[in-house]
Every structure is written in structure tokens, then in C-alpha cells.
């Protein structure tokens, strides 16, 4: 299930981002290119960050920005970018961010298995470090498939 959502065309490594908005846009733009959502959805993710705060930094080094289906999701999808330099999102304990996984859910169900899979992978000790250091999108996928 996870493999169906994360493919090399929605993964980018070593991305340059000046701030959290840049970082979220980088991940969001991959979703737009892949036909997962409309550009407005990316703006909605940025707005959510500004309005609700960085609660989406769910674990040390990992941000999971997302908005709602109504914000412009065309089909459930995920993208992943690793940042060249860590970016501060403003979270009290989990900053700075090195991995941004953008999520576009079309409903409350379709992305659950992928999300759960990702969560369990990220929970492995050292996983975030390894993913952040992965040299290519394929290397990222290989790490997630382990």
C-alpha cells in the first residue's frame, strides 16, 4: 500500500529550502506535478501551518503537512522531500525538520495503511537520519522497503 503512494517521481532528495513555507511548497509541488492535487491544496497546507502552528512536525526531524480533501485533492497521494539543510518550523520539541512528507488525503480511509506503514518505519531508531542522508529517491524507497 505504501509503495503505491510513494514512488520515485514524488520523492526528491537534498532539496534547498529557505524556511518552512519553502519546504512545504517543495513537497507540495511534487504532488501537483503528479496530479494528486491542485495548486490551491499546496497553499492550504501552508495556510494550515500559519494558522494552526507546526503541529505537523510529528516526530523529531519529520514534518507531515496536509490539508483536507476539500482543499483540492484529486486522488490520495504522498510525496517526500529530504532537505539539504534542516529547517526550523517552530515546534517546541521536534525541530529542526529534515524530512517533509506531504499528504493529500481524498477521504478518511485511503491513506491509512500508507500512513501507518510510514509511521512504523519512522519509529525505527536512526530511521530519520538514514532517510535524510539518502542520496537518491530510489535509495529513500529502498530504506522504506526494508
Amino acid at each position: 500500500m505504501r509503495d503505491a503512494l510513494l514512488t520515485t517521481d514524488v520523492i526528491r532528495t537534498d532539496v534547498v529550502a529557505d524556511d518552512r513555507t519553502d519546504a512545504v511548497r517543495a513537497a507540495g509541488d511534487l504532488l501537483v506535478t503528479a496530479g494528486v492535487c491542485v495548486p490551491g491544496y499546496v497553499q492550504a497546507m501552508v495556510d494550515a501551518l500559519d494558522q494552526l502552528g507546526p503541529y505537523c512536525v510529528i516526530a523529531p526531524g519529520v514534518a507531515l503537512p496536509h490539508a483536507t480533501p476539500d482543499d483540492g485533492v484529486l486522488r490520495t497521494g504522498m510525496s517526500l522531500v529530504t532537505l539539504r539543510e534542516p529547517v526550523v518550523f517552530g515546534h517546541a520539541t521536534n525541530d529542526p525538520v529534515r524530512l517533509v512528507v506531504a499528504l493529500a488525503p481524498q477521504d478518511k480511509q485511503a491513506h491509512l495503511a500508507a500512513l501507518q506503514d510510514l509511521a512504523s518505519r519512522l519509529g525505527d531508531p536512526g530511521a530519520v537520519d538514514r532517510l535524510a542522508a539518502a542520496p537518491t529517491p530510489q535509495a529513500v524507497l529502498d530504506l522504506l522497503a526494508d
Partner: protein
């Protein structure tokens, strides 16, 4: 027992929390209904316990329902350590 897992949107982090809390409660042998909700709905939704990402503290501070804050949503151990005692305490009171 009704537990609400909260995030800003009700789609991503609240769902992740729900999945983990479900698993933890199953393993602990506790029966509870866990529902993911967004911040707007949690205030009107009846729940005995709320589980939320730590960063939501500023939004949930005024809650009359006990709230458990989680720093690392992918750390099952942290969630178990915080949620199980909170559930037992709420169950003990009712």
C-alpha cells in the same frame, strides 16, 4: 470510554494517533472507542479523554476533559506510557 485523537485537520495526524492508540489499547486489553477529530469539532464532541500532538497545547488548554500530549507521534512507547495510565485513571473515576 470515548477517546478523541485530535489534530488541526482531522485527516493526518489524528488518524495516525488513532491507529497507534487503538493498537496500544488492544495490547493493554482496554476497550475504548477512538475517534479522530479536527480541532474545531473536539470542543463539541463528547469524549472522556483527548490525545493530541504536543504542539496543540495552546489550543486545548481550556479543555475540561483530560488531555494527553504526545511529543513524538511515531514513538509507540511514548504514546503507551502516557495514554495507558491516563485511560486507567479516567476509567477508575467513572
Amino acid at each position: 470510554m470515548r477517546i478523541a485523537t485530535v489534530c488541526g485537520m482531522g485527516f493526518g495526524t489524528s488518524m495516525m494517533l488513532k491507529l497507534t492508540v487503538d493498537k496500544i489499547l488492544r495490547e493493554a486489553g482496554v476497550d475504548a472507542e477512538v475517534s479522530p477529530v479536527d480541532l474545531g469539532s473536539v470542543k463539541t464532541m463528547p469524549a472522556d479523554l483527548i490525545v493530541a500532538p504536543a504542539d496543540m497545547r495552546s489550543h486545548l488548554g481550556g479543555s475540561t476533559v483530560p488531555v494527553v500530549y504526545i511529543d513524538n507521534l511515531v514513538n509507540k512507547a511514548e504514546i503507551a506510557e502516557k495514554v495507558v495510565p491516563a485511560v486507567r485513571e479516567v476509567a477508575g473515576e467513572s
